[in-house]
Amino acid sequence: MMTGSATAASRQALGAYGERLAERHLCAQGMVVLDRNWRCDEGEIDLVLRDGDVLVVCEVKTRSGVGCGTPHEAVTGVKLDRLRRLAERWAGAHDLRPPEVRIDLVAVLRPLRGPSDLEHLRGLA
């Protein structure tokens, strides 16, 4: 799967870069960041935001190439189910009852050369 040159540290750096890029993009759209990298025993939420009345749980996928498939393809049905459960857990932990919950995906492609490419998909599943 991983190429030899990609160390754990460089992978983490790539992920962090993607999340920063995503956050900037979403804020520019008028969303408000509520939480970052929130963890519990079931997993992690990359970004929790508020878009008007809607609670948005956002997954950020960053890739440096499409050799192992596009970032979009990495989000499977199982992962979406988990994100839905995590959204519930996050709301419970903060004693919030949002009228609506949405799950978004930000796919970031950062090739070795040239500009990065970002795509925001609203309301997956």
Partner: protein, 529 residues
């Protein structure tokens, strides 16, 4: 809009339904959903299409949710020929191909993983259906372009790969592609094949004037025929020569037969239109499905349909299974086969001549002449065997002939040397032409297919002839169905002789042919007119 529609055809028997393959490509959880009642072989199209697109160096919308609907959604779709339409419609929805280029065009073909276009059975009936629904252009696998081109008014584009199809749709120069190996079904052996039957001529059969005339009448009117006689009396030899005295198929028959063979996957790439009447001789072990059609999944035409407009020869007829014999009843009468399923009912044409051959007893040696009888069968066995022959199927046979082995003195033919097939074929052709003129505007073409009541009303016998039939029915020599059969055969005898209406002599001949009595010498003399 990320939406496109490509057309293809779904086959239900020889009926084609136009199918819209509608594709939507939009953001969402990545994946390809195929809806609209696909069967398993079609569901696999998802993987074939994806790999074929990627390996053709085209762009697959891998960051999008793809939804493909096969519409109308209530029809069950089967087969692998949807691949091309699915792939093209996805590419159009994704913007690789201009969606407008798909208008009025049908796409037929199976994709290989490297993007090649593979042949599929049933291209001719599919293209016929597409033409009927107003489509004017069709993409098919290259080896089947000739088959598709038989449909008038259709622009046929034969292609070897998905890459070529896409280039053509974009209006670009079509790239080279290696030919795709033809599907299974190459001819391994031609033993007793059609080549051998071309050598068979009616003139080889010396001393069988009666039987040769009976066969000529059967061929001229499309009458079902039963040949009975001990081993070596020439039943098979006679039957094998029938296709040789049948004229070439009419364009209509030719299209029907080619469509049936296309459905059966029995057409070879270079075959083109079938123009000669077919010959089918299934073994007596044959199942009902193989004879009438059916099978798992897609309905395959049986031997009865593959012999459409030709000859179906059932040798050793009483040895066929009882359910097979019974299933023949309805097709013999109506000239079509209906296979009913849970989801669909499929009707295929089956207007061939059926020729049945049987021995007089299980061992095949029995003759009524005691001095020559070498039969070992018990009387009960013979009775069982005969019961199968005289069942309801036999009642649907127009002409019955009892053959006897030729003895040396029979070889001196009373009417000179036997005629060649070509001369007989010319007479048969002329007789068929007369029938075609007479029955113009009706749904049947030959006397053998004409419904009895219609014949009695519009094409009656002369009074004297009719009373001959009535007498025979009154005394029990003929059943009611038998009387109608005699009526038909009498017309054929008259057509062969070029008469305006059957007279007493023609009815007499027809009566003898139906009841199995030997023909009168005077009838044989009149044969050539």
């Amino acid at each position: 809009m990320p939406f496109a529609t490509a057309h293809t055809v779904s086959l239900h028997g020889a009926l084609g339904h136009l199918i819209d393959v509608q594709t939507d490509v939009s953001p969402g959880q990545v994946g390809l959903t195929l809806v609209g009642r696909p069967d398993p072989s079609l569901n696999e199209a998802r993987d074939r299409c994806r790999m074929a697109v990627l390996n053709s160096r085209l762009e697959w919308p891998s960051t999008r949710r793809i939804t493909v609907l096969l519409s109308p959604a209530d029809l069950v779709k089967r087969g692998t020929h949807f691949d091309l339409a699915v792939a093209v419609s996805i590419l159009a929805a994704a913007g690789t191909v201009p969606p407008r280029a798909l208008a009025g065009t049908a796409f037929i073909g199976e994709l290989t993983l490297d993007g090649g276009l593979r042949s599929v059975p049933g291209v001719l009936p599919m293209v016929l259906a597409a033409a009927e629904r107003g489509l004017r252009r069709v993409f098919v696998p290259e080896p089947q372009a000739r088959e598709a081109a038989m449909v008038p008014g259709m622009t046929v584009i034969g292609m070897r790969s998905l890459g070529q199809v896409v280039a053509e749709l974009r209006g670009e120069e079509v790239p080279e592609a290696p030919p795709v190996a033809p599907m299974s079904g190459s001819r391994l052996l031609s033993w007793r094949g059609s080549e051998r039957r071309d050598e068979l001529d009616l003139s080889h059969l010396v001393g069988m004037a009666d039987a040769r005339y009976a066969v000529e009448i059967a061929a001229a009117g499309g009458h079902h025929l039963m040949l009975s006689g001990p081993k070596g009396s020439g039943k098979t030899s006679l039957a094998e020569r029938i296709p040789g005295i049948l004229p070439d198929l009419t364009p209509e028959e030719s299209l029907e037969l080619t469509a049936i063979h296309s459905l059966a996957g029995a057409l070879e790439p270079g075959d083109g239109m079938l123009v000669r009447p077919p010959w089918c001789a299934p073994h007596h072990d044959a199942s009902k499905t193989s004879l009438l059609g059916g099978g798992l999944g897609q309905v395959r035409p049986g031997e009865l349909s593959r012999a459409h407009a030709g000859v179906l020869f059932l040798d050793e007829f009483p040895l066929f299974r009882t359910d097979v014999i019974d299933a023949l009843r309805q097709p013999l009468e109506s000239g079509e086969v209906t296979v009913a399923r849970r989801d669909e009912s499929v009707t295929l044409p089956a207007r061939g001549m059926v020729v049945l051959a049987c021995n007089p007893c299980p061992c095949g040696e029995y003759t009524p002449q005691v001095s020559e009888n070498r039969c070992q069968c018990r009387e009960a066995q013979r009775r069982d065997y005969r019961a199968r022959i005289t069942g309801p199927v036999a009642d649907r046979i127009d002409i019955l002939r009892h053959l006897t082995p030729i003895r040396p003195h029979d070889r001196d033919d009373l009417f000179g040397p036997p005629e060649e097939s070509a001369a007989v074929r010319a007479r048969v052709e002329a007789a068929r032409l007369r029938q075609a003129e007479r029955y113009a505007g009706t749904s049947w073409r030959l006397n053998g297919q004409a419904p009895g009541p219609m014949l009695r009303e519009h094409w009656p016998l002369e009074r004297a002839g009719q009373s001959l039939v009535d007498d025979a029915a009154y005394t029990g020599r003929l059943t009611q169905r038998g009387a109608a059969r005699v009526h038909r055969v009498a017309w054929t005898v008259a057509d062969l002789r070029g008469l305006r209406q059957p007279g007493v002599a023609e009815v007499q001949t027809a009566l003898h042919l139906r009841t199995g009595e030997p023909l009168l010498l005077s009838a044989l003399e009149r044969r050539a007119g």
